[in-house]
């Protein structure tokens, strides 16, 4: 017998085993307190305000901002393009297509970090992924992006650079022309309720 035939037999038999293996356990079953703790510690779920500013300026199609404060606070002010899912209603059936989906990177935010990280832990406990937390929330967003404070005369060149970058971002977000078309209501995500992947690094 030549190598191809042997290989074919081996591959097909392994493939058959793979096919009859029980359905891969979803993370909701696999995730336990220990793993959740590790994920929180690694802080892979956090998005910094500078990262968010970059994403918004580039009009990245892959993100969805979710405001977890109550609707009164949301109607007073919310980030451009954000939708409102109050924490109290987070697990309502109608929000499932938003928080359990594969096509977008959800970023939870609130005034601080407490409510948004509670929302994140709850979705993570259910095994949903693709959800992230804006570290520092709106307070930090205003502190760093909208009203960046000058680092002072003793600042290093790196700090000055950061400040200039933030200043430019601030101009972008406070300029009235952009704000209007950005805040139009976003559509429902196209692919609801499927398992999805977390990005760990690119190879391109």
């Amino acid at each position: 017998m030549n190598t191809r035939v042997i290989l074919s037999i081996i591959l097909i038999s392994f493939g058959s085993i793979a096919a009859i293996l029980p359905k891969q356990k979803t993370s909701s079953v696999q995730l336990n307190a220990d793993e959740l703790l590790r994920e929180i510690r690694l802080e892979t779920n956090l998005v910094s305000t500078d990262e968010l500013a970059d994403l918004l300026i580039n009009l990245d199609p892959g993100i969805m901002l979710i405001d977890v404060r109550d609707s009164i606070e949301y109607s007073k002010y919310h980030l451009p393009g954000a939708i409102n899912i109050p924490l109290k209603q987070l697990l309502d059936e109608k929000w499932m297509p938003y928080i359990d989906q594969i096509s977008k990177k959800n970023i939870f935010y609130s005034n601080g970090t407490t409510l948004s990280s509670e929302a994140w832990i709850l979705t993570r406990q259910l095994g949903y992924q693709n959800n992230y937390v804006l570290y520092g929330g709106l307070n930090r967003w205003f502190e760093t992006i909208i009203k960046p404070s000058h680092p002072g005369s003793m600042a290093t060149s790196v700090e000055i650079e950061w400040f200039n970058k933030r200043k430019a971002a601030s101009m972008y977000f406070t300029g009235s022309s952009n704000a209007t078309d950005l805040s139009s209501a976003p559509a429902l995500p196209p692919v609801p309720r499927k398992k999805k992947k977390r990005v760990a690094g690119g190879c391109s």
């Binding site: 191809r4 290989l7 074919s8 591959l11 097909i12 392994f14 493939g15 058959s16 793979a18 096919a19 009859i20 293996l21 029980p22 359905k23 891969q24 993370s27 696999q30 793993e35 590790r38 690694l42 892979t44 990245d60 199609p61 892959g62 594969i102 096509s103 977008k104 992924q129 692919v191 499927k194 398992k195 999805k196 992947k197 977390r198 990005v199 760990a200 690094g201 690119g202 190879c203």
Partner: protein, 200 residues
């Protein structure tokens, strides 16, 4: 539980060492397969040497089965493994340009490095060419930005699209691959060219 680097707090230096060791394995595998020869690689498209197809599909299937089994044993969390993000138009158009580059240049980036390592001068020029290509892309990015970003579908898996389990898809791919191996060996007999196969 793997993958180890993102989950086990492995230091950056060790991560880079891992990169180097994996690269060693990658280089040896490519060179031993004969991918350091552009004529062997291009033989795929003329039927006289189908090594590319065989290596490519055997490798992908081995890794695919390995991931399924490791996941079953609980050694790897597939949700953390990187899945390429799908941008419809850039993937197709990028692929077409790469295909043209493949048949004209006879290498792909990975194989050009192994070929250059054993002294193929054409491979070195290929690497230089690809640097120029990347530089041109970076400089003219404004023109491609819309294309680069359009048609975003997320990090989507083919088994999700077909609505079948990963294992079924793996079996399906294996059946297709074994069929292709059989056709490839027939083609090799039909298009055999002693003069070329001796040189490479």
């Amino acid at each position: 539980m793997g993958p180890l680097v993102p989950l086990q707090n492995i230091s950056n230096e060790l991560n880079l060492l891992i990169a180097f060791v994996i690269g060693l394995g990658f280089g040896i595998a490519l060179e031993q397969a004969g991918f350091s020869s552009s004529r062997k690689l291009a033989g795929m498209f003329y039927g006289y040497d189908t090594t590319v197809l065989k290596v490519f599909f055997t490798a992908a299937i081995t890794a695919m089965l390995g991931l399924i089994f490791l996941n079953f044993v609980g050694l790897i969390d597939l949700d953390i493994v990187y899945v390429n993000e799908y941008y419809v138009y850039s993937a197709i158009i990028g692929g077409i340009i790469m295909g043209a580059g493949f048949i004209i240049g006879g290498f792909c980036p990975g194989t050009s490095f192994t070929a250059a390592a054993i002294g193929k001068i054409d491979a070195m020029w290929f690497i230089l060419g690809s640097m120029i290509g990347i530089f041109i892309f970076g400089e003219t990015f404004v023109f491609w930005k819309d294309l680069y970003m359009s048609g975003y579908k997320g990090a989507i898996k083919i088994s999700d699209v077909l609505g079948i389990r990963d294992g079924y898809f793996a079996l399906l791919l294996i059946l297709v691959a074994t069929l292709m191996f059989w056709v490839a060996e027939m083609a090799e007999k039909k298009f055999k060219r002693e003069d070329i196969t001796k040189e490479i």
